[in-house]
Amino acid sequence: MEFLLEPLEYEFFRHALLAAFMIGASSGLIGVYVVLRGMSYVGHGLSHAAIGGAIVGITLNLNFYTGACAMGLLAALIINKITKNNKIKLDAAIGIVTTAMFALGVAIVSKMRNFKQNFEAVLFGNILGITGEDLMIIGLVTCITLITMFFSYRALLFSTFDSEAAQVSGIKTAPVQLLFSLLLTLSVIASLNVVGVTMVAATLIAPAVTARMLTDSFSKMIIYSMFLGAITGVTGMYLSYILNVPSGTTIVLFSALVFSLSLLIKPARSLKKRLSLP
């Protein structure tokens, strides 16, 4: 037990643990819709756009989150707009929009030789890098995500499962999609310092696909995914401290391990289901 309690003496670890718990739970929730809407690549793309925006913001003497947020939201709006008529598929739109924004950030870093900002934490996550400000932003984004998704549960589920029937039932599917894209962008940006740009996609997807292996019910999948996200976040953060490797990598590797275990459980569930069906 001591190895669990000892790191809690440090304030930076308590911050990191709380951040990983909140990010894990909210990513687990939002990840269910990401996976079921076939948007698994979106988190990866938006994180790249956000980092491009963060670099632009820093060169303009703005806060890290201001630039990341502006560029991330802009990317989400542009992607939403250009995929609306179905001529350009989502994956293609993400590929061009977010990569272009990331490229802009890289170009600025290359041009400004005196650029001092260390982006290693943002790329791979760093438990030392989570400040009180980060924690506040993560808490705020988690609250907004949980509350919004709680009250739009019915509209989100219906429009994700059957968009046309949802429209016939009076759901404005385009605003629902836009709202979801904005929440996803905020979640991705809030996750950057905890898991890093390169790992965000996996933290969104892994808990959701693991939960899918464990249940056939949507409401249970949501609960399992949030729980798994929070647990893997906290465990990954401990592993990061113990093994002294970036937190993003330990969270993702532990999530992948849990997912692998769920693959072993799936055949047993299928057999049980076959036996219980009439």
Partner: protein, 273 residues
Amino acid sequence: MPATFPSDPQVHHAVKLTGVTAGYEHNIVFDNLSLEIAAGQFVGIVGPTASGKTTLLKIILGLHSAHAGKVQLHDSTPANKVKPGAIGYVPQLGSVDWNFPVTVAEVITMGLYTNGRIWPWLSGQEHARVRDLAHRLNIDNCLQHHISDISGGQRQRAFLARALINNPKLLILDEPTSGVDIKTQHEVLHLLSDINREGISIILTTHDLNAVASHLPWIICFNRGIVAQGRPRDIFTNEIMTRTYGGDIVIVKYQGHLLIANSTPLNFNGDNQ
């Protein structure tokens, strides 16, 4: 209390289209189409692939805008301003993602969105409504099953329950008989017939001419416009079928039933003779 589907005796037209032109960008699917479907009717729309049946349904459902013309539902309400829940819609089951993690109960409760309730969980009244409807449609024993773990007929009834949960005045089904065996086709059409007798107007599209010939009271033959409409015995003639499908179709009357077949059978090698 059993679920019932009250009708409105004051409504004369379930659907009224006047001079409607519709299509996609530069491709006009049908032009200047006028169509009236009386309240309480049970109508089947038949026609070849790409004849515009689905576009017609989407225009009625408000999912697609007409280039020109007027679409009215329930007499005077513009189609895109119909009260949510007034139309029940059952999509083609072929378009459903059967791996989506939802149980039969969760599918049915999706239809309750229009109640205006913001809480994710169901109220006691909503629970009772789901149970009653499931019991009536004979799917109450599989409410907690995943949608892929039930039979084709049960799947169709689960989506029908979702469409009926708000007591709609009009029920629209896109090819409800496709992808199911002949026994299930008959079950589904009998069930729809029972629902129609309670006053709900029903419009469906189908490719299964034999099933609609023996079950539906009114048929619209559609091929980028209305070719003909009327009772099956008046509609299923060689002349009308040839005009609708553009090929030779044989109609046989056997023991009071109409049997429709392609006039060019396959030989044992699988080639057209």
